[in-house]
Protein backbone atom coordinates (compact mmCIF):
# COMPACT_ATOMS: atom_id res chain seq x y z
CA UNK A 1 0.00 0.00 0.00
CA UNK A 2 2.87 2.32 -0.72
CA UNK A 3 0.80 4.37 -3.15
CA UNK A 4 -1.46 5.58 -0.39
CA UNK A 5 -0.64 8.71 1.53
CA UNK A 6 -1.75 7.41 4.90
CA UNK A 7 -1.77 3.87 6.23
CA UNK A 8 -5.11 2.39 7.15
CA UNK A 9 -5.55 2.16 10.89
CA UNK A 10 -8.32 0.55 12.85
CA UNK A 11 -8.97 1.95 16.34
CA UNK A 12 -10.89 -0.05 18.90
CA UNK A 13 -12.04 2.71 21.29
CA UNK A 14 -13.75 2.03 24.59
CA UNK A 15 -17.04 3.85 25.09
CA UNK A 16 -15.74 5.90 28.03
CA UNK A 17 -12.30 7.51 28.20
CA UNK A 18 -11.30 6.20 24.76
CA UNK A 19 -14.31 7.52 22.89
CA UNK A 20 -14.26 10.79 24.81
CA UNK A 21 -10.74 11.40 23.50
CA UNK A 22 -11.98 10.95 19.94
CA UNK A 23 -14.88 13.34 20.59
CA UNK A 24 -12.57 15.87 22.24
CA UNK A 25 -10.28 15.77 19.21
CA UNK A 26 -13.29 16.56 17.00
CA UNK A 27 -14.48 19.35 19.28
CA UNK A 28 -11.03 20.91 19.38
CA UNK A 29 -10.94 20.88 15.58
CA UNK A 30 -7.85 18.65 15.46
CA UNK A 31 -7.24 16.78 12.22
CA UNK A 32 -6.34 13.21 11.68
CA UNK A 33 -6.40 11.29 8.40
CA UNK A 34 -9.62 9.77 7.17
CA UNK A 35 -7.86 6.44 6.85
CA UNK A 36 -8.34 6.02 10.60
CA UNK A 37 -11.46 3.96 11.21
CA UNK A 38 -12.88 3.85 14.70
CA UNK A 39 -14.90 0.99 16.16
CA UNK A 40 -16.59 1.84 19.43
CA UNK A 41 -16.83 -0.96 21.98
CA UNK A 42 -18.28 -0.85 25.45
CA UNK A 43 -15.06 -1.78 27.18
CA UNK A 44 -11.64 -2.76 25.88
CA UNK A 45 -11.89 -6.01 27.78
CA UNK A 46 -14.47 -6.92 25.14
CA UNK A 47 -11.66 -7.04 22.60
CA UNK A 48 -9.87 -10.34 22.25
CA UNK A 49 -7.00 -11.51 20.14
CA UNK A 50 -9.29 -12.96 17.48
CA UNK A 51 -10.68 -9.51 16.63
CA UNK A 52 -7.22 -7.94 16.58
CA UNK A 53 -5.82 -10.58 14.26
CA UNK A 54 -8.90 -10.44 12.10
CA UNK A 55 -8.35 -6.70 11.58
CA UNK A 56 -4.88 -7.46 10.20
CA UNK A 57 -6.28 -10.40 8.26
CA UNK A 58 -8.77 -8.06 6.58
CA UNK A 59 -6.09 -5.59 5.58
CA UNK A 60 -5.55 -3.07 8.40
CA UNK A 61 -1.99 -1.79 8.46
CA UNK A 62 -2.15 -0.75 12.07
CA UNK A 63 -4.43 -1.41 15.00
CA UNK A 64 -4.79 0.82 18.05
CA UNK A 65 -6.49 -0.25 21.25
CA UNK A 66 -7.70 2.97 22.86
CA UNK A 67 -8.94 2.68 26.40
CA UNK A 68 -9.08 4.06 29.92
CA UNK A 69 -6.02 4.52 32.04
CA UNK A 70 -5.00 1.65 34.27
CA UNK A 71 -7.36 1.40 37.23
CA UNK A 72 -9.99 3.84 35.98
CA UNK A 73 -12.17 1.43 34.00
CA UNK A 74 -15.85 2.40 34.03
CA UNK A 75 -16.82 -1.18 34.79
CA UNK A 76 -13.93 -1.83 37.19
CA UNK A 77 -12.65 -4.65 35.00
CA UNK A 78 -9.05 -5.43 35.78
CA UNK A 79 -6.74 -3.83 33.22
CA UNK A 80 -4.61 -6.97 33.02
CA UNK A 81 -7.13 -8.56 30.71
CA UNK A 82 -6.49 -6.31 27.73
CA UNK A 83 -2.77 -6.09 28.51
CA UNK A 84 -2.60 -9.89 28.46
CA UNK A 85 -4.46 -10.10 25.13
CA UNK A 86 -2.31 -7.29 23.73
CA UNK A 87 0.93 -9.05 24.66
CA UNK A 88 -0.26 -12.37 23.28
CA UNK A 89 -1.36 -10.71 20.03
CA UNK A 90 2.03 -9.00 19.76
CA UNK A 91 3.81 -12.33 20.24
CA UNK A 92 1.70 -13.98 17.54
CA UNK A 93 2.23 -11.05 15.16
CA UNK A 94 5.96 -11.19 15.80
CA UNK A 95 5.97 -14.91 14.98
CA UNK A 96 3.97 -14.31 11.83
CA UNK A 97 6.54 -11.71 10.79
CA UNK A 98 4.00 -8.91 10.78
CA UNK A 99 6.05 -6.36 12.78
CA UNK A 100 4.51 -6.18 16.18
CA UNK A 101 4.77 -2.37 16.46
CA UNK A 102 1.76 -2.16 14.17
CA UNK A 103 -0.36 -2.95 17.20
CA UNK A 104 -0.41 -0.40 20.02
CA UNK A 105 -2.24 -0.18 23.30
CA UNK A 106 -2.97 3.45 24.21
CA UNK A 107 -4.43 4.19 27.62
CA UNK A 108 -5.39 7.83 27.97
CA UNK A 109 -7.20 10.00 30.51
CA UNK A 110 -10.69 11.11 29.47
CA UNK A 111 -11.09 14.03 27.00
CA UNK A 112 -7.44 14.08 25.98
CA UNK A 113 -7.97 14.76 22.28
CA UNK A 114 -4.52 16.17 21.67
CA UNK A 115 -2.76 13.12 22.93
CA UNK A 116 -5.02 10.84 20.88
CA UNK A 117 -4.14 12.66 17.67
CA UNK A 118 -0.50 12.65 18.72
CA UNK A 119 -0.58 8.89 19.27
CA UNK A 120 -2.25 8.32 15.89
CA UNK A 121 0.48 10.38 14.20
CA UNK A 122 3.11 8.40 16.08
CA UNK A 123 1.62 5.07 14.99
CA UNK A 124 1.51 6.29 11.38
CA UNK A 125 5.16 7.28 11.54
CA UNK A 126 5.92 3.87 12.99
CA UNK A 127 4.12 2.09 10.16
CA UNK A 128 5.84 4.24 7.53
CA UNK A 129 9.22 3.22 8.98
CA UNK A 130 8.43 -0.44 8.31
CA UNK A 131 10.30 -1.69 5.24
CA UNK A 132 7.94 -1.70 2.29
CA UNK A 133 8.33 -5.44 1.80
CA UNK A 134 6.79 -5.97 5.21
CA UNK A 135 4.20 -3.26 4.86
CA UNK A 136 2.00 -4.87 2.31
CA UNK A 137 -1.46 -5.79 3.38
CA UNK A 138 -1.67 -9.24 4.81
CA UNK A 139 -4.56 -10.45 2.77
CA UNK A 140 -5.97 -8.90 -0.33
CA UNK A 141 -9.02 -10.20 -2.10
CA UNK A 142 -8.22 -13.86 -2.57
CA UNK A 143 -8.34 -15.18 -6.13
CA UNK A 144 -11.12 -17.68 -6.58
CA UNK A 145 -9.45 -20.90 -7.51
CA UNK A 146 -11.09 -23.02 -10.10
CA UNK A 147 -9.82 -26.26 -8.72
CA UNK A 148 -11.97 -29.27 -8.36
CA UNK A 149 -12.14 -29.79 -4.68
CA UNK A 150 -12.28 -33.24 -3.27
CA UNK A 151 -13.26 -33.55 0.34
Amino acid sequence: MTDKLYPEILVFACNWAGWSCVEAATNLGLHYPASVKIVKVNCLSRIHMGLILKAFDFGAEGVMLLGCEQGSCHFDTPGEYIINEYRKAQDILEMLGVWKDRLVLTQLPAFDGRQFVGQIAKLMEEIKRIPSSKRSKIIGPRPVQDIEVYI
Binding site: M49, L51, K54, I92, L96, I138, V144, I147, Y150
Partner: protein, 384 residues
Amino acid sequence: MFDLQGVTNDTRIRLCLDCGKCTVVCPVARYDPDFNPRLIVQETLRQNGRGPADERIWSCINCSMCVERCNYNVKFTDFIRYLRYEALAEGIEIKYSHGGVPQAIMHMMAHKEIKQNRLSWLPEDINISKQSDTAFFVGCAPYFDVLFNELGVKTAEGSKGALRLLNYAQIPFTLLANERCCGRDLLLMGDAEGFLALAQANMQEFSRRGIKNIITNCPECYYTLKVDYPRFVENWDIKVAHMTEVVVPLIENSQLILGGLKRKVTYHDSCTLGRYSRIFDQPRRILASMDGLEIVEMADNREKALCCGASPWVHCGVVNKQIQRERLDQAGATGADILVTVCPKCQIHLKCAQETAEKNDVCQIEIQDIFQMAAQSLLSQEES
Protein backbone atom coordinates in the same frame (compact mmCIF):
# COMPACT_ATOMS: atom_id res chain seq x y z
CA MET B 1 -17.24 -27.43 -6.32
CA PHE B 2 -18.30 -30.84 -5.16
CA ASP B 3 -20.57 -32.96 -7.21
CA LEU B 4 -22.89 -35.13 -5.24
CA GLN B 5 -22.19 -38.21 -7.32
CA GLY B 6 -18.47 -37.98 -6.59
CA VAL B 7 -19.10 -37.42 -2.93
CA THR B 8 -21.43 -40.37 -2.61
CA ASN B 9 -18.95 -42.60 -4.42
CA ASP B 10 -15.99 -41.49 -2.34
CA THR B 11 -17.73 -41.58 0.99
CA ARG B 12 -19.77 -44.73 0.12
CA ILE B 13 -22.70 -42.97 1.71
CA ARG B 14 -25.33 -44.86 -0.28
CA LEU B 15 -24.24 -48.04 1.44
CA CYS B 16 -25.61 -46.70 4.71
CA LEU B 17 -28.05 -49.31 6.00
CA ASP B 18 -29.61 -47.03 8.57
CA CYS B 19 -28.47 -49.44 11.30
CA GLY B 20 -27.36 -46.74 13.73
CA LYS B 21 -24.13 -48.34 14.95
CA CYS B 22 -22.34 -45.05 14.22
CA THR B 23 -24.68 -43.26 16.56
CA VAL B 24 -24.20 -45.85 19.32
CA VAL B 25 -20.44 -45.42 19.38
CA CYS B 26 -20.41 -41.66 18.70
CA PRO B 27 -19.11 -39.85 21.80
CA VAL B 28 -20.96 -36.66 20.84
CA ALA B 29 -24.29 -38.44 20.40
CA ARG B 30 -23.90 -39.91 23.88
CA TYR B 31 -24.01 -36.45 25.45
CA ASP B 32 -25.96 -34.51 22.83
CA PRO B 33 -29.27 -36.17 21.86
CA ASP B 34 -29.70 -33.73 18.96
CA PHE B 35 -26.62 -35.02 17.19
CA ASN B 36 -27.26 -38.21 15.30
CA PRO B 37 -24.91 -39.32 12.48
CA ARG B 38 -27.42 -41.82 11.15
CA LEU B 39 -30.16 -39.21 10.83
CA ILE B 40 -27.80 -36.69 9.22
CA VAL B 41 -26.93 -39.21 6.53
CA GLN B 42 -30.52 -40.30 5.97
CA GLU B 43 -31.82 -36.74 5.90
CA THR B 44 -29.22 -35.70 3.35
CA LEU B 45 -29.96 -38.67 1.12
CA ARG B 46 -33.68 -38.03 1.31
CA GLN B 47 -33.25 -34.38 0.38
CA ASN B 48 -31.12 -35.24 -2.64
CA GLY B 49 -27.81 -34.13 -1.18
CA ARG B 50 -29.02 -31.07 0.69
CA GLY B 51 -27.80 -31.69 4.18
CA PRO B 52 -28.95 -30.04 7.35
CA ALA B 53 -27.26 -26.65 7.45
CA ASP B 54 -27.89 -26.16 11.15
CA GLU B 55 -25.65 -26.47 14.19
CA ARG B 56 -25.64 -30.26 14.13
CA ILE B 57 -23.07 -30.57 11.39
CA TRP B 58 -20.58 -28.53 13.42
CA SER B 59 -20.89 -30.76 16.48
CA CYS B 60 -19.02 -33.67 14.87
CA ILE B 61 -15.51 -33.94 16.33
CA ASN B 62 -14.10 -35.99 13.41
CA CYS B 63 -12.91 -38.72 15.78
CA SER B 64 -13.65 -41.40 13.17
CA MET B 65 -15.19 -43.73 15.72
CA CYS B 66 -18.23 -44.16 13.40
CA VAL B 67 -16.01 -45.12 10.46
CA GLU B 68 -14.23 -47.63 12.69
CA ARG B 69 -17.50 -49.27 13.67
CA CYS B 70 -19.35 -49.11 10.36
CA ASN B 71 -19.70 -52.51 8.72
CA TYR B 72 -19.72 -50.98 5.26
CA ASN B 73 -16.94 -48.46 5.84
CA VAL B 74 -19.14 -45.46 5.17
CA LYS B 75 -16.86 -42.46 5.61
CA PHE B 76 -19.03 -40.22 7.71
CA THR B 77 -16.16 -37.87 8.64
CA ASP B 78 -15.54 -37.14 4.94
CA PHE B 79 -19.23 -36.73 4.41
CA ILE B 80 -19.55 -34.16 7.19
CA ARG B 81 -16.72 -32.22 5.56
CA TYR B 82 -18.78 -32.05 2.40
CA LEU B 83 -21.81 -30.78 4.34
CA ARG B 84 -19.65 -28.17 6.04
CA TYR B 85 -18.18 -27.06 2.75
CA GLU B 86 -21.66 -26.61 1.32
CA ALA B 87 -22.85 -24.76 4.42
CA LEU B 88 -19.85 -22.41 4.34
CA ALA B 89 -20.44 -21.73 0.66
CA GLU B 90 -23.97 -20.69 1.53
CA GLY B 91 -22.53 -18.19 4.00
CA ILE B 92 -23.55 -19.83 7.25
CA GLU B 93 -21.97 -18.35 10.37
CA ILE B 94 -19.93 -20.60 12.61
CA LYS B 95 -19.27 -20.32 16.32
CA TYR B 96 -15.50 -20.10 16.41
CA SER B 97 -13.81 -21.22 19.59
CA HIS B 98 -11.04 -19.05 21.03
CA GLY B 99 -12.34 -15.99 19.20
CA GLY B 100 -11.38 -17.42 15.82
CA VAL B 101 -7.68 -16.89 16.53
CA PRO B 102 -6.46 -20.23 15.09
CA GLN B 103 -8.39 -19.61 11.88
CA ALA B 104 -7.12 -16.01 11.64
CA ILE B 105 -3.54 -17.26 12.06
CA MET B 106 -4.04 -19.90 9.38
CA HIS B 107 -5.53 -17.39 6.96
CA MET B 108 -2.67 -14.98 7.56
CA MET B 109 -0.14 -17.76 7.02
CA ALA B 110 -1.79 -18.59 3.70
CA HIS B 111 -0.65 -15.27 2.29
CA LYS B 112 2.18 -15.60 -0.17
CA GLU B 113 4.27 -12.68 1.01
CA ILE B 114 4.35 -13.55 4.66
CA LYS B 115 7.80 -14.19 6.10
CA GLN B 116 7.45 -15.81 9.47
CA ASN B 117 9.80 -15.50 12.33
CA ARG B 118 8.86 -18.79 13.89
CA LEU B 119 12.06 -20.37 15.12
CA SER B 120 12.46 -18.22 18.22
CA TRP B 121 11.56 -21.18 20.45
CA LEU B 122 14.50 -23.23 19.21
CA PRO B 123 17.08 -23.90 21.95
CA GLU B 124 20.75 -23.47 21.11
CA ASP B 125 21.73 -27.05 21.96
CA ILE B 126 19.87 -28.47 18.95
CA ASN B 127 21.97 -28.94 15.82
CA ILE B 128 20.40 -28.38 12.43
CA SER B 129 22.06 -29.33 9.17
CA LYS B 130 20.80 -26.74 6.73
CA GLN B 131 21.73 -28.70 3.59
CA SER B 132 19.79 -31.82 4.56
CA ASP B 133 16.87 -32.87 2.36
CA THR B 134 14.99 -34.14 5.40
CA ALA B 135 12.79 -31.55 7.02
CA PHE B 136 11.29 -31.66 10.46
CA PHE B 137 7.77 -30.25 10.22
CA VAL B 138 7.11 -28.54 13.52
CA GLY B 139 3.49 -27.57 12.98
CA CYS B 140 1.70 -24.92 14.97
CA ALA B 141 3.14 -25.82 18.39
CA PRO B 142 4.98 -22.46 18.84
CA TYR B 143 1.74 -20.60 18.11
CA PHE B 144 -0.24 -22.82 20.47
CA ASP B 145 2.16 -22.06 23.30
CA VAL B 146 1.51 -18.33 22.99
CA LEU B 147 -2.19 -18.73 22.38
CA PHE B 148 -2.82 -21.07 25.30
CA ASN B 149 -0.19 -19.87 27.73
CA GLU B 150 -2.77 -19.34 30.46
CA LEU B 151 -3.50 -23.09 30.35
CA GLY B 152 0.17 -23.75 31.00
CA VAL B 153 0.59 -26.02 27.97
CA LYS B 154 4.07 -26.41 26.57
CA THR B 155 3.51 -28.14 23.26
CA ALA B 156 6.79 -26.89 21.81
CA GLU B 157 8.54 -29.01 24.46
CA GLY B 158 7.36 -32.07 22.52
CA SER B 159 8.95 -30.73 19.34
CA LYS B 160 12.15 -29.89 21.23
CA GLY B 161 12.22 -33.42 22.66
CA ALA B 162 11.75 -34.93 19.20
CA LEU B 163 14.58 -32.79 17.80
CA ARG B 164 16.86 -33.82 20.68
CA LEU B 165 16.14 -37.50 19.97
CA LEU B 166 17.03 -36.97 16.30
CA ASN B 167 20.22 -35.20 17.34
CA TYR B 168 21.09 -38.03 19.69
CA ALA B 169 20.56 -40.65 16.96
CA GLN B 170 22.59 -38.42 14.60
CA ILE B 171 19.89 -38.15 11.97
CA PRO B 172 20.44 -34.93 10.01
CA PHE B 173 17.41 -32.71 9.49
CA THR B 174 16.58 -29.14 8.66
CA LEU B 175 13.87 -26.80 9.86
CA LEU B 176 11.85 -24.58 7.58
CA ALA B 177 11.76 -20.97 8.70
CA ASN B 178 8.67 -20.27 6.66
CA GLU B 179 6.66 -23.46 6.96
CA ARG B 180 2.91 -22.90 7.08
CA CYS B 181 0.26 -24.65 9.06
CA CYS B 182 -0.66 -27.93 7.37
CA GLY B 183 -4.24 -26.66 7.10
CA ARG B 184 -5.98 -29.69 8.52
CA ASP B 185 -8.30 -27.63 10.68
CA LEU B 186 -9.42 -25.56 7.71
CA LEU B 187 -10.02 -28.73 5.70
CA LEU B 188 -12.05 -30.29 8.51
CA MET B 189 -14.20 -27.21 8.92
CA GLY B 190 -14.93 -27.10 5.20
CA ASP B 191 -12.72 -24.14 4.23
CA ALA B 192 -11.23 -25.89 1.21
CA GLU B 193 -9.89 -22.67 -0.39
CA GLY B 194 -7.92 -21.79 2.74
CA PHE B 195 -6.54 -25.31 2.92
CA LEU B 196 -5.46 -25.26 -0.72
CA ALA B 197 -3.73 -21.90 -0.29
CA LEU B 198 -1.75 -23.29 2.67
CA ALA B 199 -0.95 -26.54 0.87
CA GLN B 200 0.36 -24.71 -2.17
CA ALA B 201 2.42 -22.32 -0.06
CA ASN B 202 3.91 -25.29 1.78
CA MET B 203 4.61 -27.13 -1.45
CA GLN B 204 6.45 -24.09 -2.82
CA GLU B 205 8.58 -23.93 0.29
CA PHE B 206 9.36 -27.66 0.11
CA SER B 207 10.39 -27.54 -3.54
CA ARG B 208 12.42 -24.35 -2.99
CA ARG B 209 14.42 -26.11 -0.30
CA GLY B 210 14.58 -29.41 -2.20
CA ILE B 211 12.92 -31.41 0.54
CA LYS B 212 12.60 -35.15 -0.13
CA ASN B 213 11.58 -36.45 3.32
CA ILE B 214 9.52 -35.01 6.09
CA ILE B 215 9.46 -36.08 9.71
CA THR B 216 6.83 -34.66 11.99
CA ASN B 217 5.81 -35.20 15.57
CA CYS B 218 2.26 -33.89 15.16
CA PRO B 219 -0.27 -36.56 14.14
CA GLU B 220 -2.49 -34.01 12.41
CA CYS B 221 0.36 -32.71 10.27
CA TYR B 222 1.43 -36.30 9.58
CA TYR B 223 -1.95 -37.42 8.30
CA THR B 224 -2.50 -34.25 6.27
CA LEU B 225 0.92 -34.34 4.64
CA LYS B 226 0.77 -38.05 4.01
CA VAL B 227 -2.82 -38.56 2.90
CA ASP B 228 -4.43 -35.24 2.02
CA TYR B 229 -1.58 -33.40 0.28
CA PRO B 230 -1.03 -36.05 -2.42
CA ARG B 231 -4.72 -35.74 -3.30
CA PHE B 232 -4.66 -31.96 -3.63
CA VAL B 233 -1.11 -30.95 -4.55
CA GLU B 234 0.32 -31.72 -7.97
CA ASN B 235 3.66 -33.53 -8.28
CA TRP B 236 3.82 -34.52 -4.64
CA ASP B 237 6.67 -36.98 -4.18
CA ILE B 238 7.78 -36.34 -0.61
CA LYS B 239 8.00 -39.20 1.86
CA VAL B 240 6.36 -38.45 5.16
CA ALA B 241 7.12 -40.28 8.39
CA HIS B 242 5.81 -39.82 11.86
CA MET B 243 8.40 -39.38 14.58
CA THR B 244 7.29 -42.63 16.26
CA GLU B 245 7.94 -44.52 13.02
CA VAL B 246 11.45 -43.05 12.98
CA VAL B 247 12.24 -43.70 16.63
CA VAL B 248 11.05 -47.32 16.94
CA PRO B 249 13.56 -48.80 14.42
CA LEU B 250 16.31 -46.81 16.12
CA ILE B 251 15.38 -48.33 19.47
CA GLU B 252 15.23 -51.81 17.98
CA ASN B 253 18.70 -51.40 16.40
CA SER B 254 20.02 -50.05 19.71
CA GLN B 255 20.98 -46.80 17.98
CA LEU B 256 18.89 -44.99 20.53
CA ILE B 257 18.77 -46.22 24.09
CA LEU B 258 16.32 -44.35 26.24
CA GLY B 259 16.96 -43.85 29.94
CA GLY B 260 14.87 -44.96 32.85
CA LEU B 261 11.90 -43.29 34.45
CA LYS B 262 10.20 -44.69 37.52
CA ARG B 263 6.65 -43.63 36.83
CA LYS B 264 3.31 -45.17 36.04
CA VAL B 265 1.90 -43.85 32.79
CA THR B 266 -1.09 -44.33 30.55
CA TYR B 267 -1.05 -43.65 26.83
CA HIS B 268 -3.82 -41.63 25.19
CA ASP B 269 -4.31 -42.62 21.53
CA SER B 270 -4.84 -39.56 19.40
CA CYS B 271 -7.63 -40.12 16.84
CA THR B 272 -5.49 -38.92 13.96
CA LEU B 273 -2.52 -41.12 14.81
CA GLY B 274 -4.60 -44.09 15.86
CA ARG B 275 -7.80 -44.58 13.97
CA TYR B 276 -6.83 -42.45 10.97
CA SER B 277 -3.17 -43.45 10.56
CA ARG B 278 -3.29 -46.88 12.27
CA ILE B 279 -0.22 -46.21 14.41
CA PHE B 280 -1.01 -47.90 17.71
CA ASP B 281 2.03 -49.96 18.66
CA GLN B 282 4.93 -47.63 17.98
CA PRO B 283 4.26 -45.11 20.77
CA ARG B 284 3.73 -47.97 23.22
CA ARG B 285 7.01 -49.55 22.14
CA ILE B 286 8.82 -46.28 22.80
CA LEU B 287 7.33 -46.13 26.27
CA ALA B 288 8.10 -49.80 26.91
CA SER B 289 11.76 -49.25 26.08
CA MET B 290 12.16 -46.89 29.04
CA ASP B 291 13.46 -48.64 32.14
CA GLY B 292 11.14 -48.81 35.11
CA LEU B 293 8.22 -47.26 33.27
CA GLU B 294 4.96 -49.01 33.95
CA ILE B 295 2.30 -48.67 31.25
CA VAL B 296 -1.35 -49.15 32.11
CA GLU B 297 -4.13 -48.99 29.56
CA MET B 298 -7.29 -46.95 29.89
CA ALA B 299 -10.69 -48.60 29.59
CA ASP B 300 -11.01 -47.38 25.99
CA ASN B 301 -7.76 -47.77 24.14
CA ARG B 302 -6.29 -48.35 20.69
CA GLU B 303 -9.09 -48.52 18.08
CA LYS B 304 -11.71 -47.73 20.68
CA ALA B 305 -9.88 -44.83 22.29
CA LEU B 306 -12.03 -41.91 23.28
CA CYS B 307 -11.30 -38.64 21.50
CA CYS B 308 -9.89 -35.65 23.40
CA GLY B 309 -13.23 -34.07 22.60
CA ALA B 310 -12.67 -31.26 20.17
CA SER B 311 -11.96 -30.73 16.53
CA PRO B 312 -11.11 -27.84 14.25
CA TRP B 313 -11.52 -25.07 16.83
CA VAL B 314 -15.25 -24.63 16.20
CA HIS B 315 -18.33 -25.14 18.33
CA CYS B 316 -16.58 -26.23 21.48
CA GLY B 317 -19.16 -26.46 24.21
CA VAL B 318 -20.47 -28.40 27.15
CA VAL B 319 -20.65 -31.68 25.20
CA ASN B 320 -16.96 -31.47 24.36
CA LYS B 321 -16.14 -30.74 27.98
CA GLN B 322 -18.09 -33.82 29.06
CA ILE B 323 -16.16 -36.03 26.64
CA GLN B 324 -12.89 -34.58 27.92
CA ARG B 325 -13.94 -35.18 31.49
CA GLU B 326 -14.82 -38.79 30.68
CA ARG B 327 -11.40 -39.31 29.11
CA LEU B 328 -9.62 -37.76 32.08
CA ASP B 329 -11.65 -39.91 34.46
CA GLN B 330 -10.63 -42.99 32.51
CA ALA B 331 -7.02 -41.91 32.89
CA GLY B 332 -7.52 -41.32 36.60
CA ALA B 333 -9.11 -44.74 37.06
CA THR B 334 -5.94 -46.46 35.85
CA GLY B 335 -4.03 -45.02 38.78
CA ALA B 336 -1.34 -43.64 36.49
CA ASP B 337 0.75 -40.56 37.40
CA ILE B 338 1.10 -39.25 33.87
CA LEU B 339 -1.13 -39.26 30.82
CA VAL B 340 1.18 -39.48 27.82
CA THR B 341 0.01 -38.17 24.49
CA VAL B 342 1.61 -37.55 21.15
CA CYS B 343 -0.73 -34.88 19.82
CA PRO B 344 -0.36 -31.20 20.80
CA LYS B 345 -4.06 -30.63 20.30
CA CYS B 346 -5.03 -33.48 22.65
CA GLN B 347 -2.73 -31.91 25.21
CA ILE B 348 -4.41 -28.52 24.85
CA HIS B 349 -7.95 -29.87 24.97
CA LEU B 350 -7.46 -32.10 27.98
CA LYS B 351 -5.56 -29.39 29.81
CA CYS B 352 -8.35 -26.95 29.02
CA ALA B 353 -10.87 -29.32 30.61
CA GLN B 354 -8.67 -29.52 33.72
CA GLU B 355 -8.19 -25.77 33.99
CA THR B 356 -11.76 -24.69 33.36
CA ALA B 357 -13.44 -27.16 35.72
CA GLU B 358 -13.49 -26.98 39.50
CA LYS B 359 -10.32 -28.46 40.95
CA ASN B 360 -11.91 -31.51 42.56
CA ASP B 361 -14.39 -32.01 39.76
CA VAL B 362 -12.09 -33.45 37.16
CA CYS B 363 -9.04 -35.67 37.34
CA GLN B 364 -5.93 -33.47 37.56
CA ILE B 365 -3.52 -36.01 36.10
CA GLU B 366 -0.25 -34.68 34.70
CA ILE B 367 -0.23 -34.53 30.89
CA GLN B 368 3.03 -34.93 28.99
CA ASP B 369 4.22 -35.31 25.45
CA ILE B 370 5.85 -38.65 24.66
CA PHE B 371 8.93 -37.10 23.03
CA GLN B 372 9.41 -34.62 25.83
CA MET B 373 9.42 -37.60 28.19
CA ALA B 374 11.81 -39.64 26.04
CA ALA B 375 14.25 -36.71 25.75
CA GLN B 376 14.07 -36.17 29.51
CA SER B 377 14.91 -39.81 30.13
CA LEU B 378 17.97 -39.41 27.89
CA LEU B 379 19.02 -36.35 29.86
CA SER B 380 18.67 -38.09 33.23
CA GLN B 381 20.65 -41.03 31.84
CA GLU B 382 23.51 -38.73 30.87
CA GLU B 383 23.51 -37.04 34.26
CA SER B 384 23.68 -40.32 36.14
